[in-house]
């Protein structure tokens, strides 16, 4: 599979402050990777290095085969910043047109129409940014990031200002992007959201990757719960592979089995364990 983004031994120091200390991350084409970590862990710095906004102190970052920050890399990527603002005097359509011109996109009006539809802003095409709610601006930001059909998308907290319906729209959008083969590095504090849509997660703490992998791989067994006639029984220290034996033993003992649940740690538990309980 083609690598869309790769960071190797990536380091960044702001004076005496160490933001990244040798981070290795890869995002494959069509893969959705969630970036997790407490505030100040170095997530936004990693994303900004990928976009060429911040220069690394060491290591390397490559976007679609080009050095991060180079013209070729910038032509291949889209970006939504955590703290962004668009000029209030621009309408949604004008903003996308501006970014089409900056990105050299030839998509024209059909591309703008499609992007506004994707983020649910078709009715707000002519509305000025200053007249939009924060959530609408965030959706417009996602549409802006998709101008020019990027192969690699960096999204820094894209749903922080969205209501549940808006988050659902974005989740659907991310799944659609994955179907189209777009690689996404999603920096988010919303663990449930990351768990729902991401193929892999990378947890960063104090500038280092402390856990990485598929959520199922990172999850630890928490026993098996079985619903019986007399109530629910919990079997500590067991896992999925123990279920046939446990059920066979229960049936042999004349118990009626109504339900079986294999318990694993949630992404929240994995995260808290990885960052030693540090809050964001």
């Amino acid at each position: 599979m083609t690598v869309a983004f790769s960071a190797q031994a990536l380091a960044k120091h702001y004076g005496s402050v160490r933001a990244l200390a040798g981070v290795d991350v890869t995002v494959d084409e069509g893969e959705l990777v969630g970036l997790l970590g407490p505030n100040g862990a170095g997530k936004s710095t990693l994303v900004k290095i990928g976009c060429g906004l911040v220069r690394p102190s060491g290591g390397s970052a490559v976007v679609c085969g080009a050095r991060a920050g180079s013209r070729e890399a910038r032509a291949a990527m889209g970006y939504l910043a955590e703290l962004f603002r668009f000029p209030g005097w621009c309408s949604a359509d004008e903003l996308l047109e501006l970014h089409q011109r900056l990105a050299g996109s030839t998509g024209g009006e059909p591309e703008r129409t499609e992007l506004l539809e994707l983020v649910g802003l078709s009715d707000a095409r002519g509305r000025h940014v200053e007249d939009m709610s924060k959530g609408m601006q965030q959706r417009l930001g996602i549409a802006q990031a998709l101008v020019g059909t990027p192969r690699m998308l960096f999204l820094d907290e894209p749903t922080s200002a969205l209501d549940p319906a808006g988050r659902r729209t974005v989740r659907g959008l991310l799944e659609e992007l994955r179907r189209r083969g777009v690689a996404v590095l999603l920096n988010s504090h919303l663990l449930s959201e990351v768990e729902l849509v991401c193929d892999r997660v990378v947890i960063i703490h104090r500038g280092e990757v402390v856990a990485a992998g598929r959520p199922q791989e990172l999850a630890k067994p928490r026993g098996v719960e079985i619903d019986l006639e007399g109530g629910t029984r919990h079997f500590e220290g067991t896992g999925r592979e123990d279920v046939p034996r446990i059920v066979a033993d229960l049936v042999a003992a004349d118990e009626k089995v109504y339900g079986v649940r294999v318990l694993t740690s949630t992404l929240e538990e994995i995260y808290l364990e990885a960052v030693e309980g540090e809050s964001s």
């Binding site: 013209r71 910038r74 910043a81 962004f84 970014h99």
Partner: protein, 286 residues
Amino acid sequence: MLVIASYALQESLRRKVLLIVLILTAAFLGLYGFGIYKAYETIDPNSREAIGPSSVLIDTRILFSATLFGLSMFGVLFLATVLAIFFTHAVVRGDAERGLLQPLVVRPVGRTSVLAGRFLAGAFACSLYVAVVYAGGLLITHAVTGWWPDRIVLPAVELAGAVIVLVALSLVGSVFLSAIANGIAIFMVFGAGLVAGLLGQIGEALDSDSLKTIAKVSSWVLPFEALYQDALNAITAETEGFTKAALSLGPFGGAQAAGISLAPYVLGYLAALALLAVAGFSRRDL
């Protein structure tokens, strides 16, 4: 680059800044016209005023017209400086702090194009503004006094050049300073240049080498002042005798002509500022 330049111009139009500037400028020209008309009523334009014991003659109409037109040129420079600062004071750090810059510079156009586009927009808008307001002051002065300056185009070009230098200084400042700090700094630099120019005028009047040296050094460091002084000088370039001497003693006399090295020096100065801005911006983390 042109995309960014048109974006910057569109921004100023849509935010109605240019409209406000035009209204205020119309007010300035209206007041200037009213003032010069009223003042002109108080003098006898045909007189040849006798000054001093040797009865030296001074052409009152030229002295009056050139001084007042010099005042209007100062007004043009001041208003255009305000416009220049508005266009450029927050282009890098200010816009980055507000989150406006990042979505633009991650596009393939890149940082140098953003700077160049902003410079083009500021230089174009301010030059156009200088040309229009300068022409307004010129026509009003002529309509009231019947006087034309000795050079008409050169002073306008030099005033525009002075404002372009200020656009460039403000753009460089925006790379290193926050928006408010940069705006204040550029105004202070502008003020320092004017003070140095006035010191030079006084130096000429008193024949003080120290003051003349201060003015000369300041003009090299801040060439917008040299351009402004040369523009003032050009409006009475062919005026001679004691009328010219009397003009040189005034605040708008343009006692210091710059010479032919000014134009290439200004071009080199702008190139150096461009290199400084590009180098500073390319190293800045956003």
